[in-house]
Amino acid sequence: MRPVSYNIKKKPLEADISMAEMPEGHQGQGFFATTLDNVIGLARKNSLWPLPFATSCCGIEFMATMAATYDIARFGSERVGFSPRQCDLLMVMGTIAKKMGPVVKQVYLQMAEPRWVIAVGACASSGGIFDTYSVLQGIDQVVPVDVYVPGCPPRPEAILDGLMRIQDLVGKESLRRRNSEQYKALLESYGIQ
């Protein structure tokens, strides 16, 4: 029998983003003024449209996340689009073979800015057990990844946890980030103009 049930240690988030309940602003009787950044962040994060790029079992787990028991609609992401033009969040789930790499990149390129990427599962985020000639060792070799969700496959709870991390990221993002030099350099490093 196992000695304990849980690992209670909390691993801190890398580049931690602290959550604010309410944006900073001026408040008075019947009005609340805040910066446009915060309002747009709030709107964006609660209406993320995911594009599921599901190639294997993690995709099945994502289907469970979409279904009534876990209900991804509670996070405003029920509108799963299969057209990259209309989606904000690319969810790559499953093993990406090297031949599939350019396809992932093509899909990423077709998405309109602002766009985010989440790598779900061991295969998409690092290659997992498939350390072979034919499998891409993590999709961050072809597209920049914002959040990684480990697990093989991850439970729906873990996928929702990943989605909440993305929401934190989206809510906190400055409107000028996509025009910044760092962002251009990041895309340049992936060969994207």
């Binding site: 049930s5 849980y6 690992n7 057990i129 990684y148 697990g151 093989c152 991850p154 873990a158 946890d161």
Partner: protein
């Protein structure tokens, strides 16, 4: 006509509708009744961050490194878990126990470094099976998401269970339902 597969098959009724049927009112109310009935049914949704679902006792999640009753680390860095790992996610470095460290480590050899790459790990539990020293186990905690790759390298301090001697409170928290089972409740 061929034999029907089940006794529930119904031939299609192609007769023209009469005027009551053409109003569609009856069918609309039938449909609305079904919708209305669902308002009073038990909700299927689990509101995840606020409400959690109990996992199975044998759920294979985040690893833990075990201690004995006196709080000494059990791992001797033999490397059997690393050999058994199909994803090659485990790395370790062994060291010899010095004089005066008997309180910290159970045996003469211990793991100075112990790292698991949770992105590589597939939570198969082979490490748990391979361990001869009762040192590594998987827990019912799922691995949380993170922003960068380096956030998934779980070191010894992230994996060790709370010391039952110096941190009994944390130990009880980690135990979860297990101590109740030991007492046979």
């Amino acid at each position: 006509m061929s034999e029907p597969l089940t006794n529930r098959s119904k031939p299609v009724d192609r007769r023209p509708m009469n005027w009551v049927e053409r109003l569609y009112l009856v069918n609309i109310f039938k449909g609305m009744a079904i919708t209305l009935r669902h308002f009073f049914k038990k909700k299927a949704t689990i509101k995840y961050p606020e409400e959690t679902r109990p996992f199975s006792k044998v759920f294979r999640g985040l690893h833990i490194l075990n201690r004995d009753e006196e709080g000494r680390e059990r791992c001797t860095a033999c490397g059997l878990c690393a050999v058994a790992c199909p994803a090659e996610a485990i790395t370790m470095e062994a060291a010899e126990r010095q004089e005066g460290e008997e309180k910290l480590y159970r045996e003469e050899k211990y793991a100075a470094k112990y790292e698991i790459n949770m992105l590589r790990c597939i939570f198969c539990g082979y490490c748990e099976e391979a361990c001869p020293k009762d040192a590594i186990y998987l827990s019912q905690t799922f691995t949380p998401a993170n922003y960068q790759r380096k956030g998934f390298i779980y070191k010894k301090e992230d994996l060790l269970i709370p010391d039952p001697v110096t941190d009994p409170e944390g130990y009880q928290k980690a135990l979860g339902t297990i101590n109740r089972e030991k007492e046979g409740v």
